[in-house]
């Protein structure tokens, strides 16, 4: 045990790890928001509710079908993603030619419905979800104790983020996507089914949120409002990073998680507000966001 700036190393690294975990969720969620925004020009207010749905799907799978964590991490994103695609087909597609603010209002309404229904059936208190047996326990790194599950969350989130980046920036499908973002009419003229591409994109973005939800279930409890407050912080993250770049969303997400963790160590009263204050500063210095392009 040694000290850094008068803080026991155990506490410092503990908070940094917690920050990294939060950062993983910020990154996954803001990545999903950025992917959806790129294609649909809609800020998906339902994202927090869909993150919550992911966690609840994992809970239901375990409770009623006896399917554990590893099943959930595959099934939940698919199920929630499909629900997302239905939402896109039923509602969002019809709003495409209107002011984008209507998309925001619609997804806000959907979030109220989903979260309200779950609150009625499951109350406000959280339901526990156990860490999978294969990831229980931890490793002593000498300067701190690292729970295996938390290490897994960080590694997995990072891998998924980089895979998404690769998919969008380096593959043919990603090229179609980026082209359709730039000029949907032209891409359609080349024979690519842009509406379907949009639906799938929304499904993938929502799937990312659900994946984050499954990973969060063993750390935080599974509760109906787990996404409601988180999504506002993620919005701030998105404003800071700017939604122009995928890598920007990832870097900002992890970075802000770490900064938040540090704030908890050195200035605990401000931990809740740190990200919002950073957002205000970024708006003053670089209004377009750290990685954004001026629209």
């Amino acid at each position: 045990m040694f000290q850094i700036f008068g803080i026991p190393s155990q506490a410092l690294f503990g908070q940094l790890l917690l920050g990294l975990i939060n950062g993983s969720f910020y990154a996954l969620l803001s990545l999903g928001l950025a992917v959806i925004f790129g294609m649909l020009n809609v800020i998906n207010f339902t994202h927090g509710a869909q993150y919550m749905l992911g966690a609840f799907t994992a809970f239901f799978l375990l409770q009623y079908l006896g399917l554990g964590y590893w099943w959930a991490i595959v099934i939940a994103p698919i199920v929630v993603g499909i629900i997302g695609m239905v939402i896109e087909r039923l509602f969002l597609q019809r709003l495409q030619n209107l002011d984008h603010l209507y998309g925001l209002l619609l997804t806000f309404g959907l979030a109220l419905i989903i979260e309200g229904v779950f609150r009625n059936f499951f109350g406000s208190s959280g339901l526990p979800y156990a860490v999978p047996p294969s990831l229980q326990g931890g490793t002593n790194l000498g300067f701190m104790f690292l729970p295996n599950y938390r290490a897994w969350v960080v590694v997995c989130a990072l891998a998924v983020c980089l895979a998404t980046w690769f998919l969008i920036e380096r593959t043919k499908l990603g090229a179609y996507l980026r082209a359709a973002t730039e000029n949907p009419t032209l891409v359609r003229a080349f024979g690519i089914n842009v509406p379907r591409l949009i639906t799938v994109t929304y499904g993938v973005g929502v799937g990312l949120a659900a994946l984050a939800g499954v990973m969060a279930a063993p750390i935080y409890n599974v509760s109906p409002q787990m996404g409601a407050n988180l999504i506002i912080v993620v919005f701030a993250v998105v404003v800071i990073g700017g939604m122009g770049s995928i890598m920007g969303a990832i870097v900002t997400g992890f970075g802000l998680g770490l900064i938040e963790g540090l704030t908890k160590v050195f200035f605990p009263q401000a931990a809740n507000t740190a990200i919002f204050v950073i957002m205000a500063i970024v708006l003053l210095i670089r209004p377009a966001g750290l990685f954004g392009r001026r629209a």
């Binding site: 619609l106 309404g109 229904v117 912080v233 919002f276 204050v277």
Partner: protein, 320 residues
């Protein structure tokens, strides 16, 4: 040519339809206490003013603020604190709350107008959430309990507001005065510039208008009127609580305005009346209120984008 047009714009007589609607609305609120609870009506009036303030921004500048609870709630806290702890008279308490909202409006507005569209909504929401956390932590707000048993006091030191009728008349006068003021603002040359920005911002810039100044001014005005509503509400209910600063309140004012009709003069008031009545009627269903609100949101956005008043105005081809 342009000059003369601007001059005639500077003083526009209210449309006949709008004048009649205003008289009807005033008459309804004067007669209403005979068959409805004054507290319910005062709640409607406070929220109607809140929604009118919000509409000034979304309806006439095209800026969607998702953080207006910030101004409503903080004005409510300051007004309650001023009346209870500092012992100020009601009019001074309301002024203190309103001034707070105006100052917050300058700060939040200056930050938020640096980005447009969807980002604007996210920034206002995030800043409102930040101020929510301050409200949770600040000792004078009493956290979860809120500021309770706020004395209504004596207006100008004379009129006892504990009397329900006196309070009702006061709230009605405040509402009508602010309503007329907002009407005057949207029909002034200033208001015309706001509409020009809403319709085509680059063109307004190219015409030489300092768009950011106009936006900030509109934002501060909107925040100030929201502050009047919140400060008055604190005295009516003798309570300021976290509910008033939390994000569902921001969503609710959006919904009221949307239901009544974005960018209509009377829509927000009608929407507020509709939503407050609905919630009163639905108090027994508890948490389902949020689900009902969500459904109304979805229905409005999908098939009823003009709102109640907007739809009536469209069908009757009049201005409301």
């Amino acid at each position: 040519m342009a000059m003369s047009a601007a001059k005639t714009q500077a003083f526009v007589a209210p449309d006949r339809s709008e004048a009649i609607a205003f008289l009807v609305m005033t008459a309804v609120f004067i007669i209403a206490p005979t068959f409805a609870y004054p507290v319910f009506l005062m709640k409607v009036l406070c929220f109607a003013l809140f929604a009118c303030a919000f509409n000034l921004l979304i309806g006439y500048v095209g800026l969607l603020s998702f953080g207006h609870a910030l101004f409503f709630g903080w004005a409510s806290y300051i007004s309650a604190h001023a009346a209870k702890v500092w012992g100020l008279t009601p009019e001074l308490a309301i002024l203190a709350g309103t001034a707070t909202a105006a100052v917050l409006g300058i700060v939040v507005g200056a930050l938020a107008i640096r980005r447009q569209g969807i980002y604007f909504a996210m920034i206002t929401l995030a800043l409102a959430q930040m101020m929510y956390f301050f409200a949770v932590q600040a000792p004078f707000t009493h956290g979860e309990d809120g500021i309770q048993a706020v004395p209504r006091g004596r207006l100008f030191g004379i009129i006892d507001l504990a009397d329900q009728t006196n309070m009702y008349v006061t709230v009605l006068v405040i509402f009508l005065a602010c309503f007329l003021l907002i009407y005057r603002i949207i029909n002034s040359p200033f208001g015309e510039v706001l509409k020009a920005i809403r319709e085509n911002e680059p063109r307004a810039i190219s015409l030489g208008y300092q768009v950011d100044r106009y936006k900030l001014m509109a934002f501060v005005l909107s925040a100030t009127f929201a502050g009047v509503a919140g400060a008055t509400k604190a005295l009516v209910f003798q309570l300021a609580s976290l509910t008033d600063v939390d994000w569902p309140m921001s969503g609710e004012v959006v919904l009221m305005t949307l239901v009544g009709g974005l960018g209509t003069v009377f829509g927000p008031a009608v929407g507020a009346f509709f939503m407050v009545s609905l919630e009163n009627y639905l108090t027994t269903i508890g948490q389902w209120v949020f689900v009902v609100q969500g459904v109304i949101f979805v229905v409005c956005v999908m098939v009823f984008r003009r709102g109640i008043v907007g739809e009536i105005a469209h069908l009757a081809r009049i201005k409301l």
